[in-house]
């Protein structure tokens, strides 16, 4: 029996001395789509940031493994190279760094043992990397996600609209092919046609690469395109209910308190 893709055990996380997660436990495998629901402030994003290792989020207790390896012992860049990806809710801009340059560097880091150093006279080719092949991949990915190719020469997220930033996140996902993709409110701020393209694009990627997906969202709409296999409700810093996809409709119809009172396991 192989290890789960991601296993979170009794995770406690605080942010600026404030405890947010108070014992989260769940696990997931490749090919599954887990949805995390919860009210604002429930800790959904906190869980995402703790998994990717953001320095502002301190794990005070608990364990997280990724393919059986101790994830919390790894630096954030190591986790990324192992195949964890977070599509940020509000991606930050990096002026002066073109999208193409950034993507190529990240791609080399993920698949060719690191960004090619300046001393590498082959421009990375000694590790099997070809700039031309990458360029083709990039253009193909942009095309299939219906992203304007002109974005490739612009500076990463600098002056991008909210929708364009979300497109960049999914484009990165397409190129970096993570085994675990976490999507943090990717649907917020997206107009409907972009939502469809991005939703369908993400779902297609997940299927092609047998990814495990953890989707954090408020709205049902994204889930029309990315079909969940498991749905969790996060409340008071813990996962209080875990069910199948039917939980989404029930929650919408009946509200948080009803769901919690009806389904939550009684803890001591």
């Amino acid at each position: 029996m192989s290890e789960p893709l991601l296993a979170v055990e009794d995770l406690h996380v605080k942010v600026a001395k404030e405890p947010i997660l108070k014992g989260v436990t769940f696990s997931m495998n490749r090919g599954e789509v887990h949805v995390l629901l919860g009210q604002n402030g429930s800790g959904k994003s906190t869980l995402a940031y703790a998994i990717v290792g953001h320095p502002n989020y301190t794990v005070t207790q608990g364990k997280v493994t990724f393919g059986g390896e101790d994830l919390l012992a790894m630096a954030p860049d190591e986790r990324a190279r192992k195949g964890i990806f977070l599509a940020f809710q509000a991606p930050i801009g990096v002026p002066g760094v073109s999208v193409a340059n950034f993507l190529r560097t990240a791609y080399q880091a993920r698949f060719h043992g690191g960004a090619a150093p300046a001393t590498d006279k082959t421009g990375g080719q000694s590790s099997g990397f070809s700039v031309i092949a990458f360029q083709k991949k990039l253009m193909a990915a942009m095309k299939s996600l219906k992203i304007d190719p002109a974005l490739a020469t612009r500076y990463l997220n600098d002056g991008f609209s909210g929708g364009e930033k979300k497109q960049m996140e999914v484009l990165q996902m397409a190129l970096l092919q993570p085994s675990l993709a976490i999507m943090d409110e990717t649907d917020s701020g997206l107009d409907l046609d972009k939502l469809q393209t991005i939703g369908e694009g993400a779902a297609r990627l997940a299927q092609e690469h047998n990814m495990g997906m953890l989707v954090i969202t408020h709205y049902k709409r994204l889930l029309n395109y990315i079909k969940p296999s498991h749905v969790h409700l996060l409340m008071d810093g813990r996962i209080v209910v875990s069910m199948g996809p039917e939980l989404v409709d029930e929650l919408e119809a009946k509200g948080f308190d009803y769901i919690r009172n009806t389904y939550a396991k009684k803890s001591a």
Binding site: P55, A75, D77, R81, V94, F102
Partner: protein, 470 residues
């Protein structure tokens, strides 16, 4: 960034790559220190006519009378009496690379000049210890009447042009170091572009300080006639010595009606060099002057490329990047002087300090009476990579006309944690992420450089950045 840069090779060691020097072999060398006798000897070595010798001697008088500047960086440790002011490694000049003496060739081989020559440059003048040794002007430019020579040759063969323009933009009395240069200048470039001629390949020269206690006093004069265009690129390196070297250049540029001139410098002197430079251009009606100024090396640099917009429609643009590491002070900036109405200027300054380095932006935006309806925009951004480093801004704005629009934006920041994390979350190590952010910070200048310079500059920054974070 230029995608091709990835495939251009250059070897980087972890130490200062250009810290080597040839055993000194010089056929003539003045005594140390500066005296009337020294200046006369220099003039005689160059076979100069009396008018240039006299110019030097008058400048010497000015130099001796002027006090040291009491602003800017700390120059109190320069001992002017122990500097050698002139040195000539060979008695002949060569127009064919194969004829250049071996050791000089060796030095320039290391600096990559023959490769450049094979590429697409219009002409290369290479300076080695005060004298332009190798000079090759492509026949195409010659046939168009473009002159690209050592200034000494211009004095001898084009005296009328020299007399007309030399010292008109930066007279000896301008400042103490301009006076010094005017007395002991040697080497540099003289460029003349006739009316309507557009030199579409950059003209390029290298400078090098080799002998201990050498002073570099190159003098460059560029004249761009109406509707002409030229791009001149200057890059310098120097070996490391224990006592201090002085580099005090003067660059004068005249850009006539409708013409355009771009002057690009990547300065990478080793960290014992005092680099005190006066660079100034005048732009006439509808003319454009662009300074692209990169300061990576030297112990102290004081340099404020200037554009004087003399007639309506003139435009000045200055793009400046300064990097200061341990023991370095880059006191750099720009000056734009609007002397006529309907002129515009932009100054973009990016500076980076780390390991206790200090960068200062010192800039002047001046609008004279009658220079109505002018626009000027100044953006200066400073990046401090750690707690020990320092950055200052000294902007001077003097407006004496009507309907003037002047914007000044300044920012100081450190590398954003959020940006670092974002890049690390895509698999870049912390060092790689910091380098990427810093490279992005200077991108507005890098993208204006010829490709080899862009590559060299990014690599220099990467070298400087080794272990930058934490």
């Amino acid at each position: 960034m230029n995608e091709n840069a990835v495939s251009v090779a250059a070897e980087i060691g972890s130490e200062y790559k250009f810290g080597f020097h040839e055993d000194e072999k010089h056929t003539f060398r003045t005594k140390v220190g500066l005296s009337r006798e020294t200046v006369e000897e220099i003039s005689e070595q160059k076979n100069e006519p009396a008018w240039m010798r006299d110019y030097r001697l008058r400048a010497l008088d000015v130099y001796l009378k002027k006090p040291m500047p009491n602003w800017g960086g700390d120059i109190s440790h320069i001992n002017f009496d122990t500097i050698t002011y002139y040195l000539r490694p060979t008695d002949a000049k060569y127009s064919n690379w194969d004829m250049v003496p071996e050791e000089i060739k060796h030095t320039y081989d290391k600096l990559g000049i023959p490769e450049d020559e094979r590429k697409f440059l219009g002409g290369v003048g290479a300076q080695y210890d005060s004298e332009v040794v190798y000079h090759n002007l492509k026949s195409k430019w010659e046939s168009l009447g473009v002159l690209f020579l050592a200034p000494e040759d211009a004095v001898l063969h084009h005296p009328d042009l020299v007399k007309q323009y030399f010292g008109t933009i930066i007279p000896a009395g301008d400042n103490k170091f301009a006076a010094l240069n005017s007395a002991v200048w040697s080497g540099g470039s003289f460029i003349y572009v006739p009316k309507g001629v557009k030199v579409d390949i950059p003209l390029q020269a290298y400078f090098r300080i080799n002998a201990k206690n050498m002073g570099q006093f190159e003098r460059t004069l560029i004249i761009v006639e109406e509707d002409a265009f030229v791009h001149y690129v200057e890059g310098c390196t120097a070996p490391i010595y224990s006592s201090d070297s002085l580099h005090s250049a003067v660059v004068e540029i005249i850009v006539k009606r409708g013409a355009r001139c771009r002057y690009t410098t990547i300065q990478n002197w080793s960290n014992n060099v005092y680099n005190l430079v006066t660079k100034r251009a005048v732009a006439y009606a509808d003319a454009t002057m662009e300074w692209v100024d990169g300061n990576i090396g030297s112990k102290l640099t004081m340099k404020y490329p200037a554009v004087y917009m003399m007639e309506p429609g003139a435009r000045g643009e200055i793009l400046s990047v300064a990097f200061a590491g341990a023991g370095q002070h880059q006191d750099a900036g720009a000056k734009v002087v609007h002397c006529a109405p309907h002129t515009s200027s932009t100054i973009t300054s990016k500076s980076i300090s780390r390991n206790g380095g200090r960068t200062s932006y010192r800039g002047l935006c001046k609008v004279l009476p009658g220079a109505d309806d002018c626009r000027s925009r100044v953006v200066c951004d400073a990046l401090l990579l750690d707690e020990q480093s320092r950055s200052d801004t000294y902007p001077y704005i003097e407006l004496e006309a009507e309907k003037v629009s002047v914007e000044h934006e300044a920012s100081v920041s450190k590398i954003s944690e959020e940006q670092l994390f974002y890049l690390m979350s895509r698999g870049l190590t912390e060092d790689e992420a910091a380098k990427m952010i810093v490279t992005g910070f200077i991108e507005p200048l890098v993208k204006e450089l010829p490709m080899e310079y862009a590559v060299e500059l990014n690599r220099l920054i990467e070298l400087e950045m080794e272990g930058a974070v934490g």
